[in-house]
């Protein structure tokens, strides 16, 4: 297990993933704003939420990177295509399970069952995040493949 590689490159890969997501958002491809989505777990102020969410996302990204590093260690090698393959599994779990289930625990994310008493301010992302724009799954897939690619390349080079 490459602990130093995990610590450094997990951070870099998460930063790359975040950059792809923010870039796509600024380009008008998706409304999915991961820092905002995560940060509003802690605060309702969108500006503060983005800061909190950015750091929360780094932590989450680091957690996933641990899984990648463990898988590479198990296989005894790290390559770009193994990283991409793991990224594909990763994004299918995120879009198919994590994002739709988030509404159940997120205090400011409405669910499809929301009624008049709901004080949630964010609409539910829906399956594959489609409520945030039809290109959202594509953007998420690309971002996570970049994440896996970065980890596979970086850890494979050591």
């Amino acid at each position: 297990m490459d602990w130093a590689g995990w610590a450094v490159f997990g951070l870099i890969a998460t930063a790359a993933l975040t950059a792809v997501m923010i870039g796509a958002q600024l380009a008008g491809l998706t409304r999915l704003d991961l820092p905002l989505l995560l940060g509003t777990i802690f605060t309702a102020d969108p500006d503060r939420a983005r800061v909190a969410g950015f750091f929360a996302h780094l932590v989450v990204g680091q957690g996933f990177a641990l899984g990648y590093a463990a898988a590479f260690a198990l296989w005894g090698r790290a390559t770009w295509w193994l990283g991409v393959a793991l990224g594909a599994v990763h994004v299918s779990v995120v879009l198919g399970a994590v994002v739709p289930l988030l509404a159940g625990v997120h205090p400011r994310l409405a669910s499809d069952r929301a009624g008049p008493a709901s004080r949630a301010t964010l609409e539910p992302p829906g399956l594959f995040g489609l409520n945030y724009g039809v290109q959202t799954p594509v953007v998420a897939v690309v971002a996570h493949l970049v994440y896996g690619l970065a980890l596979g390349l970086a850890l494979g080079a050591r």
Binding site: D47, S111, R119, G133
Partner: protein, 622 residues
């Protein structure tokens, strides 16, 4: 309850077919809604949401499109029909030759953490003065093809399924074997003291939840209590007591038409109820217009429901994220671009008004006025002490910049007349409003000096151009578009903006000209001269315009006229206090999609204008 042409109140449809539009009550759960006619026929409901496919669509799809009737076996006169005070629960009582029968019905809006389906329709039939024979007829059909469900009779009740979408009907007492092709039609006797409770559960891509009828009834009663509490928070200070009940009904209707999962305001729960019976002016309103959201912000803010106002703005900014700085004309409930407009094949339409459409072709238009409504709403929230966060202020600044860049271009205008790009005076007025309110917010939030000077320069340029090119000296009034001599009732916003003093001769003359030249008799106004939109056939009087006239009169110091007009409009409301989009000025027959959020929001704004003018002693604000 009904009226003739000589008196106020909506008239019934002139010919046969289904129940008139005015005869329909709204029940809803803020995720979808249903329309119920006074004979107990639920003839419109889409699943899983407002903009889903109809499962009960006979309102515009004819008998083949499905219905759910619960009422007296033999057609009987309605003795009374009302919403329970301060709730959304509907109560209809018939006098039958056997006794009185009361149908109490609603949809459960607040599901909380309970195992309840996303949509739960509860209907209870109770007899008094003797046993009454009733009919329960459940005949859902899905979508354009009127697809019948696969029906299974189970111990828990009847399950009707189309693949991943399913309905379940349970009852207490348990219904005997039914009749009809699918055995989903029943004739039973309801004894006094032993009501029949019907519970319709829905499931879309989820397991069906079979709800015990008594539990469903309790959930409905709990919901009523929540609605009462919600109404208890309406600030009615300064509002005349006789206006409070209609105001409450309008606010409840607006809330029922707000899609809770995203906060989107739905313009109306229906599609293709005609503006011209038998004609082609049939549009799908099951979308959210940023303009409506902005007007809703003013309405909810004015009565102290700040959370609803904030949610509308939050939805608006979230939904418009992909298109910024352009403001989309309309969006789906989840902020997506609507599917292309198309016609439902084989659907006969309400009173043969074809085509029945889904989707809305206005989505591609450039409408300048939308920006004014949105920035004004942001200003109203700011003025009310709500701090706009950085993201919101960035978005609002972007909209103001967009207006500063594009106000010289022709646009489609508020009425969405297709292929009619022009320099609409109302659009220019609203562009002026966007810049003015942007500058007001900037005073509190700050904006770079160069940008501020740019906004000021463009605002003054609009004012100068509108005062010269938008005003017709011969008429003495602001007109519909540059160079035109037609009038536009949307220009009634003039005294509310600040571009012209509310009591100025130009403002007064414009109000009077619109009232006389676009007046349709009684309190009604056409939105523009009939026949000037390029579509065949005519259309009715546009009800929001009449409420805007109340606002304009109140704001320009003519309170007695405003109050008189408002009283007339209240008398023309439906029996349950609901308003559609339009009305036939000669008969009062309701036209257009129903109930209409814009009309109810305008009604609330008119009530608030009367309240405010009362506080000012009837003088126009300086």
């Amino acid at each position: 309850m009904t009226a003739t042409a000589s008196g106020p109140g909506p008239a019934p449809a002139a010919d046969g077919g289904g129940a008139p539009i005015a005869d329909h009550a709204l029940i809803g759960d803020t995720r979808t809604a249903a329309l119920v006619a006074s004979d107990g026929t639920l003839d419109w409901m889409c699943l899983p949401h407002f903009d889903g496919e109809p499962v009960f669509g006979s309102l515009v799809g004819g008998p083949a499109a499905g219905k759910f009737r619960a009422g007296p076996l033999r057609r009987s006169p309605v003795a009374s029909r009302r919403y329970r005070p301060s709730t959304t629960t509907l109560e209809t009582t018939w006098t039958t030759d056997q006794g009185r029968l009361t149908l109490t019905e609603g949809m459960v809006a607040e599901l909380g953490r309970y195992l309840l389906p996303e949509t739960l329709v509860v209907r209870r039939l109770a007899a008094a003065d003797g046993p009454v024979d009733v009919e329960v007829d459940l005949a859902p059909r899905l979508g354009e093809s009127n697809r019948p469900p696969v029906v299974r009779h189970r111990r828990e009740g009847v399950v009707l399924a189309w693949g991943s979408l399913a309905l379940a009907l349970r009852s207490d007492p348990v219904l005997p074997p039914g009749s009809g092709d699918a055995a989903t039609s029943w004739r039973v006797r309801v004894e006094p003291g032993r009501p029949l409770t019907l519970v319709l559960s829905t499931a879309d891509r989820q397991p069906l939840v079979h709800v015990d009828p008594e539990r469903a009834w309790e959930a409905l009663r709990d919901d009523e209590e929540r609605w009462r509490r919600w109404c208890g928070h309406i600030d009615t200070a300064g509002i005349e007591p006789r206006y409070r009940a209609p105001l409450e009904r309008s606010l409840l209707t607006l809330r029922l038409l707000t899609y809770s999962p995203s906060g989107a305001p739905v313009a109306a729960p229906t599609t293709s109820l005609p503006e011209d019976p038998g004609g082609v002016r049939n549009w799908d309103y099951r979308f959210a217009w940023p303009r409506d959201a902005s007007i809703g912000i003013g309405a909810f803010l004015g009565v102290g429901h700040v959370d609803e106002a904030r949610h509308f703005l939050a939805w608006l900014l979230h939904a418009s994220r992909l298109a910024r700085p352009r403001l989309p004309v309309l969006l789906t409930l989840h902020g997506r671009y609507p599917r292309p407009e198309r016609e439902l094949r084989g659907w006969p339409g309400y009173r043969s008004s074809r085509p029945v459409r889904t989707g809305n072709g206005a989505a591609d238009q450039h409408q300048l006025d939308g920006y004014g409504w949105v920035v004004d709403a942001a200003w109203l929230l700011t003025r009310a002490g709500v701090r706009l966060d950085g993201e919101t202020w960035r978005a609002v600044r972007g909209f103001v910049d967009e207006v500063a860049r594009r106000w010289r271009e022709p646009d489609a205008g508020i009425w969405e007349v297709r292929d009619d790009a022009a320099h609409h005076v109302h659009s220019k007025l609203m562009a002026w409003l966007a810049l003015d309110r942007g500058l007001r917010i900037a005073r509190r939030r700050g904006v770079p000096e160069r940008r501020r000077r740019g906004w000021v320069a463009e605002r003054e340029a609009i004012a100068a151009e509108v005062r010269t090119r938008g005003f017709d000296a011969g008429l003495g009034a602001y007109v519909r578009s540059y160079g035109s001599t037609e009038l536009d009732a949307a220009v009634l916003v003039l005294p509310l903006l600040g571009l012209e003093p509310p009591g100025s001769p130009r403002t007064r003359a414009t109000i009077d000209a619109i009232r006389s030249r676009l007046g349709a008799g009684g309190p009604f106004l056409y939105r523009y001269p009939p026949g000037s939109d390029g579509l065949p056939g005519g259309e009715g009087a546009f009800l929001p315009c009449s409420f805007w006239l109340v606002q304009a009169l109140a704001a320009s110091g003519r309170r007695p006229e405003a109050a008189e007009l408002f009283d007339e409009l209240l008398a023309w409301a439906g029996p349950l206090g609901l308003y559609p989009e339009e009305a036939d000025p000669s008969s009062g027959e309701f036209l257009g999609n129903h109930p209409q959020a814009l009309t109810h929001a305008a009604m609330v704004q008119a009530t608030l204008a009367l309240r405010d003018s009362n506080r000012l002693g009837g003088s126009p604000p300086s």
